[in-house]
Symmetry: C2
Subunit: 209 residues, 2 copies
């Protein structure tokens, strides 16, 4: 296996944390997103979607979706369990993963990429250069705030996001919460339940890899 | 279990097809999206995201993400397998499911909901009313065309989307392709490989439920 990572980007950080929680050793290469390495012909062969993370399996198949990558790694490194022990738990982790992706990460990505000059004509990840839409930056920020309300309410009476222990859903929500600082959302000041949960996860060695 | 469906909406159709392929019998209720039933207090108790599909489990837990719902149903009704037999196959189905969701369904949704008068101030599903952004309708349509290029290229040398047999990925891509007609994208004329594959799936009894 080979893991294509980027140390500065939020999406592959989820996989990096997942691997660290497993204590797995997987050959890893850094992709230089800042200089457009993801758009080169060599990288497109690995992932025509021009995104990280990518996990290349030993037979050459490349996965480029975080959930798919983590599902595969969970089967290869079953301990500790991070995606649920039975179908019900697994479905809850997946359901939260999707909500964190679409309402958290995508909202934050919209807010950042439609605003920051660094993403001019790169408002979406991928091979096609899309122009920024300023209204979408505003909407993304609003959606991210709505998502933080949802997450905070969940954590008011749950120790962890999806089930009664730390899972991939916590990894996703943790990375998303940290990412919110990129769009200057003061999460720690405004959402106390998120803060308590976030500070506990920040102590784990996987949070620093 | 109880399945909350809407006969006229593309997202729950994926679950409806999945259930039909399994030959499962699951108590089903129709949610009247046209008249805003998804925004009522009663429905919000089931799903605060105000979307369908929803699968309510026997212990009262409600799933509202298609992948999570199908993963749970796959474990309850394992035959025929629709999500992969081993971790590698499962990861491929999941990876395609996510690509179909983000590049297909979401693009089509952007194109439709930011354009059609019927979705004024309802540009996104969910509890919050967001204003339409006309540039997003255009971008959504462009993205949907890019996705159809990707899907057509995949089907040029593969009989099925994710692995070597019919899976949830084919269900998702089929429903998404049919949904493209809502934004007047002439898929059958422009993408011959999609057409061949689509017409084969359209023969299955599950395509008509």
């Amino acid at each position: 296996m080979k893991f294509s990572d980027c140390q500065t980007a939020p999406s592959p950080r989820r996989v990096r944390m997942f691997i660290a929680e497993k204590g797995a050793q997987i050959p890893t290469v850094q992709v230089d997103l800042r200089n457009g390495e993801q758009l080169t012909p060599a990288f497109r062969k690995l992932n025509p979607r021009c995104t990280v993370p990518v996990l290349e399996l030993d037979d050459g198949v490349c996965l480029n979706d975080t959930l798919a990558i983590c599902h595969y790694l969970e089967s290869r490194f079953p301990t500790p369990n991070l995606m649920g022990e039975d179908a019900r738990e697994q479905a809850l982790v997946m359901n939260w993963h999707e909500q964190i992706l679409t309402e958290g990460f995508m909202a934050g990505g919209e807010a950042l990429r439609n605003f920051s000059k660094g993403f001019k004509d790169r408002a979406l990840t991928g091979a096609v250069g899309y122009a920024q839409i300023p209204e979408l930056a505003e909407r993304g920020r609003q959606r991210l705030e709505v998502f933080m309300d949802v997450l905070d309410a969940r954590l008011a009476d749950h120790s962890w996001v999806a089930i009664d222990r730390f899972t991939l859903a916590d990894i996703g929500a943790f990375v998303c919460t940290d990412f919110a600082s990129w769009v200057k959302l003061p999460v720690m000041e405004r959402w106390p339940n998120i803060r308590r949960w976030f500070e506990a996860i920040a102590q784990r060695p996987s949070a620093s890899v």
